[in-house]
Amino acid sequence: MGIRVKILLGFFILAFMLFISGAISIFELTKLSKAVKMMINDSYRSIDYSKQMLDAIERQERLILFQLGNEQAENKVCFDNIAGEFKMNLDSARANLTFKDEVVLIDSIAINYTLFEISARNYLEGGHKQLSDYLNEVYPLMLVTSDQIKKLMVLNQRELYESAAFHESSAQRAIMPGLIVILTSLLFTFVFTYLIHHYFVSPIISLTKGINDYVKYRKPFKVTLETKDELWSLKESIFNLIDASKQE
């Protein structure tokens, strides 16, 4: 194999390794960035749905209290509209599950809200309304539901923090393949440099020294080369040249 092919092969391998390193780094970082983005979006949406549900249930509570002092038909219509809003947010939260424990909490919210809704409707549609009835029958259910919604919010916030910490360590993992390939390339470069020096640079130095010794001191041209490549042909040519000059 000639010098040109060997050197080209060396550089080709080096370039290939660097290409792998770059490709892996880009792939891993893109994957990580997508995962982080998705996680943030999902958690943000879940928190937002929880806020909307909390707001809806608080508005429903206010409507019940208004109804206690001043009974109006539109309050009931408004209650139904808010209930629709709440259920829509609940469905959206169910469709946007980010963590394993979320589904349990959402089911719990759905059950508690249904109980609250039934109780609140009975209260609104009932005849003589007493504050004590509200405090004993409707309010505890409202509290339990709000509590569950707050728990869902806290869970999403905590998981967001934990996921961020996990992705931070994943980032270190993501750069590992690239780092390994770079280190291997570095090792390869050392080997390549050493072999180039041994098989190409050293013979050139030996040839130069051999020619100089011949020209200056008329020492016989004796250079031994290990490989039969272009340098070996050069050595043979020099030898022939010296031989020819001697005969002249």
Binding site: M1, K6, L9, G10, I13, F16, M17, I20, I24, R173, M176, P177, I180, V181, T184, L187, F188, V191, F192, Y194, L195, H198, Y199, E226, T227
Partner: protein, 479 residues
């Protein structure tokens, strides 16, 4: 020293490694598991680095002793270094130190692990893990020598360096025949054990990986509970038999398998190996009966498995020996020192040295009785020269010294005495499990990183028979 020659042979070893990584990749691809990309990438990188010196450096037939040792030691180090790539790239529990530990413990056939959940690993990575045992068991250089047909004198020279100095004297073959014998026995044992394990209920994958672990006297299992997971007496008997056989001199096994007219059963080393294990098993059976196991059958079953496992330096387990009575633990500790025969895949002091040690002790007593007498030390009628006797005694002293110093260093890292010293003994003997926190049913995950690095040094010392690795530190002064 011609560094380029060294690079060529290390390159060959790396190519062999890359081939096994590629097989692991194929298994991973077949199972579509998460180790596919790490194994492929590792295989490509290892192949590229291994292949490049081959296109530059022409093969040579004349290697100096110094070059031979440098090739041997650096092959082991480089192979362990590249062997950690699949682990490191896969991630999970594998940090840099953990990957290095798992790679070294695999290639040196120690079989200690840092994994708390082995079963969480994908199949491709499990196969690679067991392959490191199989490659390291026979000696990575020997494998290369068998694969490359045109090495001539170099083949003979390198194969002699790779083997235990005591094993060489027991092989009565020329180098080429010797290599064939070793490979024949190694492949034969692996194949027969795989078939038997498969017949007795293991899946083909488990049968192959456990056969790799047994024949190489490694001990990596694909299950968290090791062989105990299968809870099968037949499987345990097969593994016990093959652990015992793998601890025997391969030349002797070859003679047995090929029905040669050699009186192998008269070998004092073999007799010592067999009877010491027999006595050990009986003593432990008596010790654990009533305290750990209710019946004699159960006691014999578990004591035989654990003892043969440690005595052959394999390290498979079916019971937690940490819970056994102190007397049993002390017997097991003795076998952690003695280990198996030279010329096998086992590490440790080796039975051959123990026989010389006990015989030289007896001779010393005789010399005290008859100060003027010249008493040659003989094994099976063959005289052992004084240089061999001295080197054996020096080896044993050095072995215990290293074990003690490493144990001491590990205790400074907050590890308890039992764990530290048994971990040190288990790694230098390449047996695998120790006692305490690193018992047969647990792992080395809790050992501090610096301790893990020390233990990997121990493993390499044990695998290269101490002096092999130590020589490399004095390579500059070697003329």
């Amino acid at each position: 020293m011609r560094l380029y020659i060294v690079l060529r042979y290390i390159g060959l070893v790396l190519l062999l490694n890359a081939a096994f990584m590629f097989v692991a990749f194929l298994i991973s691809a077949y199972n579509a598991d998460s180790a596919m990309i790490p194994l492929l990438l590792s295989s490509i990188l290892t192949a590229l680095v291994g292949f490049f010196p081959l296109i530059f450096v022409a093969p040579t037939n004349d290697l100096s002793q110094k070059e031979g040792y440098v090739i041997l030691v650096f092959s082991w180090l480089v192979v362990c270094l590249f062997g950690m790539l699949p682990y490191l790239l896969w991630g999970g529990e594998f940090t840099v130190v953990n990957s290095w530990f798992e790679s070294v413990t695999g290639f040196t056939t120690t079989g200690s692990t840092i994994l708390t959940n082995v079963e969480a690993l994908p199949k491709g990575l499990l196969f690679w893990r067991s392959s490191t045992h199989w490659l390291g068991g026979i000696g990575i250089i020997l494998f290369v020598l068998v694969i490359i047909p045109t090495l001539g004198k170099t083949r003979m020279f390198l194969s002699r360096l790779e083997m235990s100095p005591l094993a060489k004297t027991n092989f009565h073959y020329k180098s080429n025949k010797l290599l064939r014998v070793v490979i024949f026995v190694y492949l034969g044992l692996t194949l027969v054990e795989t078939v038997l394990l498969y017949l007795f209920g293991m899946s083909l994958f488990d049968a192959v990986t456990h056969a790799f672990g047994t024949v190489a006297t490694g001990g990596f299992s694909t299950k968290n509970d090791s062989i105990g997971h299968f809870n099968s007496l037949a499987i345990e008997i097969v593994v016990i038999v093959f652990m015992f056989l793998s601890g025997m001199h391969f030349g002797v096994l070859y003679n047995i398998f090929t029905f040669k007219r050699v009186k192998w059963y008269k070998s004092s080393v073999l007799k010592f190996y067999f009877f010491s294990i027999l006595v050990g098993v009986l003593l432990i059976t008596i010790s654990v009966k009533g305290t750990n196991y209710q019946t004699w059958g159960e006691s014999l079953r578990f004591s035989a498995f654990q003892l043969v496992s440690l005595a052959s330096t394999t390290g498979f387990a079916t019971a937690d020996t940490t819970l056994w009575p102190p007397f049993s633990i002390m017997i097991l500790l003795y076998f952690l020192f003695q280990c198996a025969c030279a010329g096998s895949t086992a590490g440790g002091i080796k039975v051959d040295r123990m026989v010389i040690f006990f015989k030289s002790m007896r001779r010393q007593v005789k010399k005290l009785q008859h100060p003027q007498a010249v008493i040659p030390l003989r094994i099976d009628g063959n005289p052992i020269d004084e240089e061999t006797v001295h080197s054996v005694l020096l080896f044993i002293v050095l072995y215990i010294l290293i074990l003690f110093v490493n144990g001491l260093l590990i205790t400074t890292m907050g590890v308890d005495i039992m764990t530290a010293f048994s971990a040190s003994a288990a790694t230098i003997s390449t047996a695998g499990p120790g006692f305490g926190v690193v018992g047969s049913e647990s792992n080395f995950a809790s050992i501090p990183d610096l301790g893990k690095l020390l233990l990997t040094f121990n493993m390499l010392l044990g695998r290269l028979e101490i002096f092999g690795l130590m020589l490399i530190f004095f390579v500059r002064s070697w003329r």
